[in-house]
Amino acid sequence: MSGRELFMAAPAPHAHAGADVGRTMRRVQLALLPATLFGFWVFGWPAVNLFVITVAAALLTEAWCQRLRGCESRLWDGSALLTGWLLALSLPPWAPGWIGALGGVIAIALGKQVYGGLGQNLFNPAMVARVALLVSFPVAMTHWVAPLPLGSAGAPGFVEGLRITLGSMPVPDAVTSASLLGHVKTELSRGVDLAQALDAAGGTLSAWHGVRAGSLGETGALLLLLGGLYLLARGVIRWHIPVGVFAGLALPAVVAHALDPAHSLSATTHLASGAVVLGAFFIATDYVTSPNTASGQLLYGLGIGLLTWIIRSWGGYPEGIAFAVLLFNALTPVIDRYCRPRIMGRTRRGAPIRATQGSAE
């Protein structure tokens, strides 16, 4: 025991539960891993390439922005990695590499750093990038391919995969396909009955087992569900947002499907398809852009689910969760303002409760 500096006054508490941001990010990444690997298997090398490019672009942009802003590098807290990862999962797996690169840059630079970095952004960075890409490059962003599992006949090898990613080799027409929701939307607009359309797309079952066209994060819904449950068990997220999203989507779907089974997808199809599971557990739950309180989170989840259903049913896009998340990101400050916890000794409105003298029983 010696130097005075040893005892420089630090503020209380002088103990810590041990949580840190890096640990949280690592847990989320672990939860994403099975579904991601499954996606790699289903879509082969081009998907791997796209993933690597997107994540690398996100990391590089993060490093570059942190340098520009002159703040210390916090690259290894894993938040930029996670953003890139989530974005990669929401892209068409055979999209050209520049889509991933541009997306990574947009997500970090415009989605996060311009607001002041981690914790400051209003909108979910990955969703900002996805929507920006979708609106700017609708063709590339809706070019889905049929699953071609690694090692199966016709699956591109590493070099071919690289050429597909770099755009020097066109995607063979035979491989092009449509995502389940996209297919259904097109067919319905052509006047085809829903049952037929679903059959042609491989039915609801394919939505669950995941070997079908779609983004990395759309396939493997069961694995994502597993990851989500892990996050719940670890206390990384709480149930209010996912349950809200599922309920907000499923309840209107149940009603609409009962009324008009020929034109409205069942709740199961809604839940299993598209990026709902990914969105509910991994995207809508983003700490920074979602409300804090339990009631606020439930409300927010319900809103996202409902809006997703509305966009899917009547909007111009087959999938709506990205738009729904962004809209409710914008509403988060409002929700936070109205959903506050009650302060001990005060009424909900903030006035001190009335003192009642008397028996303490």
């Binding site: 630090a10 503020p11 209380a12 840190d20 981690l118 914790g119 001990m344 000794g345 008397g358």
Partner: protein, 512 residues
């Protein structure tokens, strides 16, 4: 008590945390009594309220228990000599405070005899008038030993002006590492319960409930035996959760009732005292013994022989540590020296700080126990909000404080923050939330004072302006009169004197 009954009464608060309690093995080590050191350093303020005034002079011989500091004002406490000896200095000593700045205190060189002064005890405290008990407790300089060090007599005998129905004895000891209350209850349960009975008599409450967290089974057992036959005193086992020992939370858990914000427990007919205080009250009333020593938990990975020690007030922390075998250098060496528990205790800059009445622990923690780590920006994870036992939004308050908007921070309930530290304890970004809140509270207080001062200044300025104005007016009037007078005089000199003019002249002269 039926299960249903228990269930119905099991009120709880939301939030709170479950830190590692680190209570054992220190709590299981037998109590040790430390002999008076060669010198004791006794600060004149060891309590909430105004400092005491020294009533001895350098060179005076004092006996143990002799009053050396006189309380000043309604909320203050007397100070007594912790041992017999000679007063060698009255002046600055290092304050038991993070700043390490000096406070006024009395230094006594022990004569080694530890001789008590004459004490006025009482064989039957229950025959005493409650006011008389309050007086004796005040005489003995008893303050709350749970840490807040509020003068006990004020709370004991209706000083708060409200009728008390229920006396709650806080024996929860929710701070990790600390076990002095635990030890007290294990070793001196009968005396503690006697003290509680005296307090019950003094407060006029109908019953007393002793809240003990369920991580102290030995203390619970001992206290249960001690209260047997006391129909109005009950032991209540409560869950172990920090900050159970916060007055308002303990009341909620034991009664299911909330203390109004900005109010006091007495508003709902409750008063809370620490179990250690009950012991001090007993000593004061039965034996007339003032509060000159206390139980201190000495703990932390860096302490060689952790345990509980009865320490004379004014003993330096370093000497207490030496009594406990000194410090160990393994574990990477000491990382932090604390007075009090790790959640709300304060870090002090040196070992040369004295133990005072409110010092429940001396902890020397290693880096692992402190759990130091790298900080970062707020990621709005909301963990702090879920941990807050008061229902605040620490992240929102902190964001406002950081932006310099303390008024807005106040709008988020800053005044209701009990500074328990739960929020900062869980924050993954290690934001010093409690420090922010302290800072903002200080700022608000300063602004309030500032407003007050500005008011005063404005009033004074206005008064001065009015006075100046009045003076000016008077001067002008006087001048006018004088001018008139001299004119009149000139006229008089120049022309024929008229009687009327002369009269005017006389009048104005009289007036001027």
């Amino acid at each position: 008590m039926g299960i249903l009954d228990r269930f119905l009464r099991a009120a709880h608060f939301s939030g709170g945390v479950h830190p590692d309690d680190h209570k054992r093995p220190a709590a299981d080590a037998p109590l040790r009594v430390m002999p008076p050191p060669a010198r004791v350093y006794v600060p004149l303020v060891q309590h909430i309220g105004s400092p005491a005034r020294a009533v001895v002079a350098v060179g005076d011989l004092v006996k143990k228990g002799q009053r050396i500091g006189e309380p000043q004002g309604a909320v203050s406490a007397a100070i007594h000599a912790p041992t017999s000896g000679r007063v060698v200095a009255i002046g600055d000593i290092v304050a038991p405070h993070p700043s390490g700045l000096p406070v006024r205190g009395i230094t006594i060189a022990s004569d080694g005899r530890d001789e008590w002064c004459e004490l006025e005890g009482c064989d039957d405290p229950f025959a005493l008038d409650p006011a008389e008990i309050g007086r004796r407790v005040a005489q003995a300089g008893v303050v709350g030993l749970g840490g807040a060090a509020f003068p006990s007599a004020v709370k004991l005998s209706g000083g708060l002006g409200a009728r008390v129905e229920l006396l709650i004895i806080n024996a929860s000891e929710c701070e990790p590492f600390l076990s002095c209350d635990d030890r007290l209850m294990r070793d001196r349960a009968a005396e503690a319960v006697d003290g509680i009975a005296i307090m019950l008599h003094a407060t006029g409450a109908r019953e007393a409930r002793i809240g003990i967290e369920d991580n102290k089974p030995e203390a619970i057992a001992a206290m249960r035996v001690a209260v047997a036959g006391q129909s109005r005193i009950r032991v209540e086992v409560i869950p172990t959760r920090y900050p159970m020992g916060s007055e308002k939370h303990l009341i909620l858990v034991l009664t299911g009732r909330e203390v109004p914000a900005e109010g006091r427990p007495s508003d709902i007919g409750v008063v809370v005292h620490n179990v250690g205080t009950a012991m001090a009250v007993r000593n004061a009333v039965r034996f007339g013994r003032p509060l000159v020593s206390r139980l201190v938990t000495v703990n932390g990975a860096c302490v060689r022989q952790p345990g509980n020690v009865e320490v004379p007030i004014g003993t330096l922390a370093g000497e207490v540590l030496a009594f406990c075998g000194g410090l160990r250098a393994d574990h990477g060496g000491p990382a932090r020296l604390l007075l009090g528990g790790p959640m709300t205790g304060m870090q002090v800059p040196t070992l040369e700080v004295p133990v005072i009445k409110g010092t429940g622990g001396i902890l020397v923690l290693d880096a692992a126990e402190v759990g130091e780590g790298e900080g970062g920006p707020c990621i709005r994870c909301g963990d702090c909000m879920r941990a807050c036992p008061v229902g605040l939004l620490p992240l929102e308050i902190a964001a406002r404080v950081r932006a310099g908007e303390v008024e807005k921070a106040a709008g988020f309930g800053l005044v209701d923050c009990i500074a328990c530290g739960c929020c900062a304890y869980v924050c993954p970004s290690r934001i010093p939330l409690v420090q922010f809140f302290h800072h903002a509270k200080g700022e608000l207080a300063a602004r309030a004072r500032g407003t007050q001062r500005n008011e005063t200044i404005r009033t004074l300025t206005r008064a001065k302006a009015e006075r100046l104005e009045r003076d000016e007016r008077d001067k002008a009037e006087a001048l006018a009169r004088r001018t008139a007078a001299s004119l009149a005089a000139a006229t008089e000199a120049a022309a024929a004197v008229e009687k009327a003019a002369a009269r005017t002249n006389e009048e104005s002269g009289a007036c001027a």
